[in-house]
C-alpha cells in the first residue's frame, strides 16, 4: 500500500518484516498541504507546562494563541495574554509585556513563579523577551522563566516539549532544598494526569512503601519542582519527551532512572517488580501485585473472552505506542497498524519490537494516509486523539479515544486496565455499527 505522498517524503510507512527491524523514516518535516496531524512547538510547551496551576502563564502574542492554549487535554486553564494588535507588531510589544506581567502578578499575588511563552509573531519581530523576564524577576521577586517556543520551531510539538523541560531543568530544578528526604523518594517523569492517573500511580507506589515527591508535570508544584533533585530514583513513563529530563537529571545530579510503564497488567507487574528490586522492596511489590490483580480478575473474565482476537489500530503522539501495544496484548487484541505524530528513532525501535510481523508502522500520517489504512485494514477498533475520532466513525469503525478519555477514568494500574478493557469493549460492541451496515 502506498500513500500518494510517498514520492515527496520517502518511506514513512513500513510493514514489519518477519524478524525485521525496518523502521519508518521519522523526525522529518511534514509535507505542506498534506493535512498532517502534527501541531506546533507552542502547543507542545503548553502541553507540558499547563498543569502547573500555581504559576502565572503569560502568552506573549496575539490573543488566538492564548485562547487555544488555555484548553489542554480537555481541561481549561487560566492563561494571561498580551493580546498584541497591529501597532504592537509594528512598534514592538515590550511595554505591553511588562505591564501584563505586573498586572498578572497583582491578580495572582500568591503565585511563586511565572512562565512567559514566545509565539511566532513575537519571535519574528524580535522582542527581547529573555531580558524583560530577567528584569521582571527583580520587580516581582520570583522566577520569571522565558519559554522559547515560537510555533515554527522544530518539526512538531516535540520541540515544544523539550523547550518546556529545559526551562524547568535550567531555571527551577535544584534551586531549592528539602529538609526531609526519605529513603524511598522518587519522582515520576512523563505523567500528565489526563484523567486522574497521577492519583492512581501515587497510591499504587505508596502501597509499596515508595513516596512520590513530584510528578512531571501532572502533579507538580513549586516546592516539588525546585527540590526535585533530592530524590533517590526517577521513574520515566513517557519515553520520548521525558527521556531528556531523566537523562539530564542523571548527568547533573547522579539520580538514576528506571523506564517503567503501568499500562496493562503485565507491564504494571513488571514495573512494580523493577522498582521493588531497586529498593529491595520485592515482597511489598508482590503483595501489591497480588491484591491488585485479584480485584480485577472477575471483571477481566467478563471482558477478555469477548475481546480476544479483535484487531486494533493506534495513532497518536508518540510515547505510548509500545506500552499500549503490550497492554492490548494483555487483552488478546492484535494491532494491525500503529503510528505517531512525532516519534523518534528510539520510539520506533521499541514499537517495532513490540508488534508482530505484518503490522504497518507509519510516521506523521496525513489524513489521507489514515483513511486509506482504515479503509483497507478495517480494524475493529481505532485508538487515537480527538481529530481522528469522527473520521473513524464515518468509516464505520469503532473509536476509543486515547489519551483524552471520557467517562472511563484512568487507564493505568490494575483497575485502570479494567476501565480500558471496558472502553474498548464498548467501542467494538456498540450496536450502532451493525445498524449502520444495515443488518
Amino acid at each position: 500500500m502506498k500513500s500518494c505522498l510517498n514520492l515527496c517524503r520517502g518511506t514513512h510507512l513500513v510493514r514489519k518484516r518477519k524478524n525485521g527491524t525496518n523502521l519508518p523514516l521519522c523526525s522529518r518535516p511534514s509535507a505542506p498541504g498534506g493535512i498532517t496531524q502534527r501541531s506546533c512547538a507552542f502547543y507542545g510547551a503548553r502541553w507540558m507546562l499547563a498543569p502547573l496551576e500555581d504559576a502565572i502563564h503569560v502568552v506573549h502574542g496575539p490573543v488566538g494563541c492564548a485562547s487555544y492554549g488555555s484548553t489542554v487535554r480537555g481541561r481549561s486553564f487560566r492563561v494571561f495574554s498580551t493580546a498584541l494588535e497591529e501597532k504592537d507588531i509594528v512598534f514592538g510589544g515590550r511595554k505591553r509585556l511588562i505591564r501584563t506581567i505586573k498586572e498578572a502578578k497583582a491578580i495572582m499575588p500568591h503565585a511563586k513563579y511565572c512562565f512567559v511563552y514566545a509565539t511566532c509573531s513575537t519571535a519574528i519581530i524580535g522582542d527581547d523577551i529573555e531580558n524583560i523576564c530577567k528584569k521582571m524577576e527583580k520587580d516581582l521577586g520570583c522566577p520569571v522563566i522565558f519559554v522559547n517556543c515560537p510555533g515554527f520551531k522544530g518539526d512538531s510539538q516535540a520541540s515544544g516539549h523539550r523547550v518546556a523541560y529545559e526551562s524547568l531543568l535550567n531555571r527551577l530544578i535544584g534551586q531549592g532544598k528539602r529538609t526531609e528526604v526519605g529513603e524511598y523518594d522518587v519522582n515520576i517523569i512523563g505523567d500528565y494526569n489526563i484523567n486522574g492517573e497521577s492519583k492512581v500511580l501515587k497510591s499504587l507506589l505508596e502501597e509499596m512503601g515508595i513516596r512520590v515527591r513530584c510528578i512531571f508535570t501532572g502533579h507538580a508544584d513549586y516546592e516539588g519542582i525546585i527540590a526535585a533533585h533530592t530524590v533517590r530514583l526517577n521513574l520515566l513513563i513517557c519515553q520520548s519527551s521525558g527521556r531528556f529530563l531523566a537523562e539530564a537529571l542523571q548527568k547533573r545530579y547522579g539520580i538514576p532512572y528506571l523506564k517503567v510503564t503501568f499500562l496493562g497488567p503485565s507491564q504494571t507487574m513488571a514495573g512494580l517488580r523493577k522498582i521493588g528490586q531497586y529498593f529491595g522492596l520485592e515482597a511489598q511489590a508482590e503483595k501489591v501485585i497480588a491484591t491488585g490483580y485479584k480485584a480485577i480478575k472477575p471483571g477481566l473474565d467478563r471482558f477478555l473472552p469477548r475481546l480476544k482476537g479483535k484487531r486494533a489500530a493506534l495513532f497518536f503522539g508518540a510515547a505510548r505506542m509500545a506500552s499500549l501495544i503490550k497492554a492490548l496484548d494483555d487483552m488478546g487484541t492484535k494491532v494491525v497498524f500503529t503510528g505517531s505524530q512525532f516519534g523518534d528513532l528510539t520510539t520506533y525501535k521499541e514499537t517495532c519490537q513490540a508488534v508482530s510481523p505484518g503490522t504497518y508502522i507509519i510516521d506523521d500520517a496525513s489524513e489521507q494516509d489514515l483513511e486509506h489504512l482504515l479503509d483497507e485494514l478495517r480494524p475493529d477498533v481505532f485508538m487515537g486523539g480527538i481529530k481522528e475520532q469522527y473520521l473513524s466513525h464515518k468509516l464505520g469503525i469503532g473509536f476509543c479515544p486515547f489519551p483524552q478519555l471520557k467517562r472511563a477514568g484512568p487507564y493505568v494500574g490494575f483497575q485502570g486496565f479494567l476501565n480500558f478493557a471496558g472502553s474498548v469493549h464498548n467501542a467494538v460492541y456498540a450496536p450502532v455499527w451493525k445498524l449502520a451496515r444495515g443488518e
Binding site: 481541561r75 483524552q404 471496558g422 464498548n426 450496536p431 450502532v432
Partner: protein
C-alpha cells in the same frame, strides 16, 4: 422607587413576616423555606409482601386514565369536531384541564351535564337538548358522542337517543342539517379499560361510521395513536419526502399546537385537523398503518375486515429498526423508492449514535409509559447500547410484553417487565436497583428526585416542562432529538464539568 433588599439564602415564615420592607419584585415561593414535617416521627417501611401489583387490590399512582379521555383525544384531532360527553360535568372539565396542561392550548369539549335527576331518569333529555344547543351555537362538522361510566351504568341507549335527536333537529333546523353534521358514537365506560383502549375504540368507531369505499386511490392511511403533534408532523414530513399522499386520522398537530394570530375569529376553532371528507375517503386507500398497536389497531383491523385493506399494525417508528420497518413498508406498499434524503437522515442519526455511544453504553434505564411508547423506547435504548432494567406499562397489554421480550432477546438483556402495573410498584423496583436514567412522564419527576436519578421526559403526560409536545420522537429526526435529550441528561448528571471536553 426603593432599593430592593439583599436577601441571602431563603427565608423562614418568621423571617418573612419580620421583614421591614418588601421589595418590588415581591417574595416568591422559591425564596421561602418551609421545613418539611414528616408524617410520623420515624421511617416505617411499607409492607413488602403486597408491593407487587399481582398481590394487591389497591392501586396507588395509576399509570393510566379512564377510557373516555382517549376518545376525546381522538375526537379533538378532527376538523371542527366537538366531543360531546354523556356524563357529569367532571368527566368533561377534568380532561379539559389535562389537555390544557399538556398542550397549553384551549380545548372545547361539551358536556350533557348530568344531575341527580338524570341519574334516576336517564340521560335522554340532556342528550337531545345538549346536541341541539351545541349545533346551533357552534356549527360543528362532526360531533363525537362519548359515553362515560355513569351513562353506561344507567344504561343510556345512545343509538336510540341519537335517532330521536336527529329527528328533532331535522324538524327544527331543516333536513340539510343531517348532511352538515356527522355523528359518531364511541362507547367508553371508564371501568372497562384505560385511555389506550378509548383511543382504540374511537378509531374503530370513526372509521365504522364514516369510511366508505368508492374508487380506490393511491393514498395510505395513518392512525397515529396518542403521540405528540411534533411526532405527527414528522410522519407527514416522511410521507412528503417519499412523495406519498397520506391521510392522518386524528391529526392533532393542527389542532393542539396552533399559532397565536390576531384577530381570532369566534367561536375558537383551530384551522386544521383531519377533514371529514378525508375520513370518508379513507375507505379507498391502499393500506392502513396503525403506528401504535394498542392505540388505533382496532381501526386498522376494521378497515381490513370490511374493505380488505391491508393493515400494518405497529411498531411505533421510534429508533432505527422500527423506523426502517415503517419506511420499508411504505415503500413496498406504494411502490415508491426510499428517498435519498431519508437515507441521509438515517445516516445523521447513526452518526449521532456513533459519536455518543461511549456515554450511553452500559447505562441502566428504567422506563414507564403507555404500552406502545414504552416498548418503542425500550428498543431505542437497546440500540444505544443501554440496558433497560425495569420496563413498566400503565395499561395491560399483550403486544407490549411480546415486543419487549423480542427486543430483550435480540439484544441479550433481561429487564423486569411490569405489565399494567401502577407507578408505586415501579417506583419500588427502581429505588432498590442501581439505575442511571429514567425514561418516563411527568409523574415520574417525584420518583426521580427521591431516588436522585435523572429523568428524560417522554410519552404521556408531560406537563411540567414546555415544548415537548412540539418536538418529534418518531422518525430519524425524532430519534436524534431523543438521543440528544438522553445524552445531555447523562452529561449533566454523570460527568463533572472538567470531563466534558473531548
Amino acid at each position: 422607587m426603593t432599593m430592593p433588599l439583599k436577601l441571602n439564602g431563603r427565608l423562614t415564615i418568621e423571617d418573612l413576616n419580620a421583614l421591614p420592607e418588601i421589595p418590588i419584585e415581591g417574595i416568591t415561593y422559591d425564596q421561602m423555606y418551609i421545613e418539611k414535617q414528616p408524617i410520623c416521627p420515624e421511617y416505617i417501611p411499607p409492607d413488602q409482601d403486597i408491593i407487587p401489583s399481582s398481590k394487591r387490590t389497591v392501586v396507588i399512582d395509576p399509570g393510566r386514565i379512564c377510557m373516555p379521555f382517549g376518545a376525546m383525544w381522538a375526537a379533538v384531532g378532527v376538523h371542527k369536531c366537538i366531543p360531546f360527553v354523556q356524563g357529569a360535568q367532571g368527566c368533561t372539565t377534568y380532561p379539559r384541564y389535562t389537555f390544557s396542561r399538556i398542550f397549553r392550548e384551549p380545548v372545547s369539549i361539551a358536556t350533557a351535564s348530568f344531575h341527580e335527576d338524570t341519574a334516576v331518569f336517564g340521560g335522554r333529555k340532556n342528550f337531545i337538548d345538549g346536541l341541539r344547543n351545541l349545533i346551533i351555537r357552534y356549527h360543528p362538522e362532526v360531533i363525537a358522542i362519548i359515553t362515560v361510566c355513569s351513562s353506561e351504568i344507567i344504561g343510556d341507549d345512545m343509538e336510540g337517543f341519537l335517532e330521536e335527536a336527529q329527528e328533532e333537529l331535522e324538524e327544527e333546523l331543516g333536513p340539510k342539517i343531517l348532511d352538515e353534521v356527522k355523528f359518531v358514537i364511541t362507547h367508553t365506560p371508564s371501568f372497562a379499560g384505560s385511555h389506550v383502549e378509548g383511543y382504540n375504540r374511537a378509531a374503530a368507531a370513526f372509521l365504522k361510521t364514516l369510511a366508505k369505499r368508492t374508487t380506490p386511490n393511491n393514498k395510505v392511511n395513518i392512525i397515529p395513536g396518542m403521540i405528540t403533534p411534533g411526532d405527527i408532523r414528522e410522519i407527514k414530513h416522511i410521507l412528503k419526502l417519499m412523495d406519498i399522499e397520506g391521510t392522518i386520522l386524528f391529526d392533532i398537530s393542527e389542532t393542539l399546537d396552533c399559532p397565536l394570530r390576531l384577530p381570532q375569529p369566534m367561536p375558537y376553532y383551530p384551522k386544521g385537523g383531519t377533514r371529514t371528507e378525508d375520513i370518508v375517503n379513507m375507505g379507498n386507500s391502499l393500506m392502513t398503518f396503525a403506528l401504535c398497536p394498542d392505540q388505533g389497531g382496532a381501526g386498522a383491523k376494521y378497515l381490513e375486515k370490511r374493505f380488505k385493506m391491508p393493515a400494518t399494525i405497529g411498531p411505533l417508528p421510534l429508533g432505527i429498526h422500527s423506523t426502517d420497518l415503517f419506511i420499508k413498508s411504505l415503500a413496498e406498499a406504494t411502490g415508491k423508492p426510499i428517498a435519498d434524503e431519508i437515507k441521509d437522515e438515517r445516516g445523521i442519526l447513526i452518526d449521532a449514535m456513533a459519536d455518543t455511544f461511549h456515554y450511553t453504553m452500559g447505562m441502566r434505564v428504567a422506563i414507564y409509559g403507555d404500552p406502545d411508547i414504552a416498548a418503542a423506547a425500550t428498543r431505542f435504548c437497546c440500540e444505544l447500547g443501554m440496558e433497560p432494567a425495569i420496563v413498566g406499562s400503565g395499561t395491560e397489554s399483550k403486544q407490549f410484553v411480546k415486543d419487549v421480550w423480542a427486543t430483550a432477546y435480540e439484544y441479550d438483556r433481561k429487564p423486569i417487565i411490569l405489565n399494567g402495573s401502577d407507578m408505586f410498584e415501579w417506583e419500588d423496583y427502581l429505588k432498590k436497583d442501581k439505575i442511571d436514567l429514567i425514561l418516563g412522564n411527568s409523574k415520574a419527576a417525584n420518583v426521580s428526585k427521591e431516588a436522585d436519578v435523572p429523568l428524560v421526559r417522554i410519552g404521556f403526560p408531560i406537563y411540567d416542562r414546555v415544548g415537548y409536545q412540539r418536538r418529534a420522537y418518531v422518525g430519524y429526526r425524532g430519534g436524534e432529538y431523543l438521543l440528544d435529550l438522553i445524552v445531555n441528561t447523562i452529561l449533566d448528571s454523570k460527568f463533572p464539568d472538567d470531563r466534558v471536553q473531548q
